[in-house]
């Protein structure tokens, strides 16, 4: 269950690889051949004494960091991706903010020789993956069923379906949701949050966790800012106050305005 919103059993999820025509689907989750367990099984130590005696109460200092199960898996993904030289980018936003449109445009504009792959998450359908599908780009769709976010295990399974040799960029399009995905490290190198002009100037103040963890915030759909009545200065000020650590790029995937800065950002992060 997602502890943020209590939605669904994060148990079964689908992994659809779109490499082969028609793709093939693996079902994953409890009962599948691969399941990751938390580490550390406790054993109780048997006492062989004849007569029972009271045990002294002791305080054991530990001072160890607690890493949640997902964080452990995320670190594994991170290590794997770094070793393969893949820069993984986690794209987060509310539903309909334009992640897929931006990704489609991005794949059009990446320089030749900058190989990319995509893992896209939705509750249902492979439509996003089909929109992104093209020669030379491995695309995997994760259908979460009811889960409102991607987690590290799903991403690990997606990575398993991709041939990442020579891949510079792995885009992970998260489930559209500004709350829960913020809590789930996927093992990415860069976190990008989309903030479309249609969502109002107060958005960053209303959803601090996701914005506070952003490396880059992309203000999208700038081509319709006027029609949306977007008040740019307060929006940017709010963004700066909640997320002073984040770089900001303003662009329109539709018109192409500002998109060079995004491509340059990707090249810089991927190390070219």
């Amino acid at each position: 269950m997602c502890l943020e919103c209590g939605c669904g059993e994060v148990g079964r999820f689908g992994v659809h690889s779109l490499r082969a025509p028609g793709g093939h689907v693996h079902a994953h989750g409890p009962g599948a051949h691969f399941h990751v367990h938390a580490d550390g099984t406790a054993h109780s130590h048997p006492h062989d004494h004849g007569a029972p005696h009271p045990h002294a109460t002791v305080t054991v200092p530990i001072a160890s960091s607690i890493l949640a199960h997902n964080d452990r898996l995320a670190e594994r993904n991170r290590g794997f991706l770094e070793a393969k030289g893949v820069c993984a980018i986690n794209l987060l936003s509310s539903p309909g903010a334009g992640k897929t449109t931006l990704l489609t445009r991005t794949l059009d504009l990446l320089p030749a020789g900058m190989r990319a792959a995509v893992i896209v998450g939705d509750l249902e359908t492979t439509r996003d993956a089909e929109r992104l599908r093209r020669d030379g780009v491995g695309v995997v769709q994760i259908t979460t069923g009811t889960a409102c976010h991607l987690d590290a295990e799903m991403v690990a399974r997606g990575i398993g379906e991709l041939d990442l040799d020579g891949t510079r960029l792995l885009f992970i399009e998260n489930v559209g949701n500004l709350v829960c995905p913020a809590s789930f490290d996927l093992g990415e190198k860069v976190r990008v949050v989309l903030f479309p002009v249609t969502e109002g100037e107060d958005k960053p103040l209303k959803y601090p966790p996701v914005f506070k963890l952003a490396d880059l915030v992309i203000v999208t759909k700038t081509d319709i800012a006027e029609a949306a009545g977007f008040d740019r200065e307060p929006a940017l000020a709010n963004l700066r106050s909640v997320a002073p650590q984040a770089q900001v790029i303003e662009l329109s995937a539709r018109s192409g305005a500002g998109i060079d800065a995004w491509i340059a950002f990707l090249q810089q992060r991927a190390g070219t």
Binding site: M1, C2, L3, E4, A38, D39, G40, T41, A42, H43, S44, H45, H47, P54, H55, A56, T57, V58, T59, V60, P61, I62, A63, S64, S65, I66, L67, A68, H69, N70, S183, F184, L205, P208, P209, K212, R240, S241, V242, P244
Partner: protein, 114 residues
């Protein structure tokens, strides 16, 4: 934050450490949860009460200490404790270029067992 997963990890660690010290009953578990970690102590308590059943911590008490957010302003050098986790502003110069030195940690501090 995903408190159930975090509490499960903390419990697994406590049980493993108690077992390693040949202790059979955990009476108390003490955690430190930084105020900027995004983890809600009440949710940890709630998860603990559900998860401890059937383990050697079934009768244990959970104590959670808040970890302060120790910050240093990159502009004026002032050291301060952040009170607002959302907007962190230097009380000296009102700048927002702040280095957060603590407050994001989640730690199993100690356990008491016999």
């Amino acid at each position: 934050m995903h408190e159930a997963s975090i509490m499960q990890s903390a419990l697994d660690l406590a049980i493993a450490r108690a077992g390693g010290a040949h202790l059979r009953n955990i009476h108390r578990i003490r955690l430190r949860v930084g105020v900027l970690s995004g983890v809600a102590p009440e949710a940890l308590q709630f998860a603990f009460e559900a998860l401890r059943d059937g383990t050697i911590a079934a009768g244990a008490r959970l104590e959670i200490d808040p970890g302060p957010a120790a910050c240093r302003c990159r502009d004026c050098g002032m050291n301060f404790e952040a009170d607002d986790p959302v907007v962190i502003v230097c009380p000296g110069c009102h700048g927002m270029r702040v280095r957060v030195d603590s407050g994001r940690e989640m730690e199993l501090v100690e356990l008491e067992a016999s």
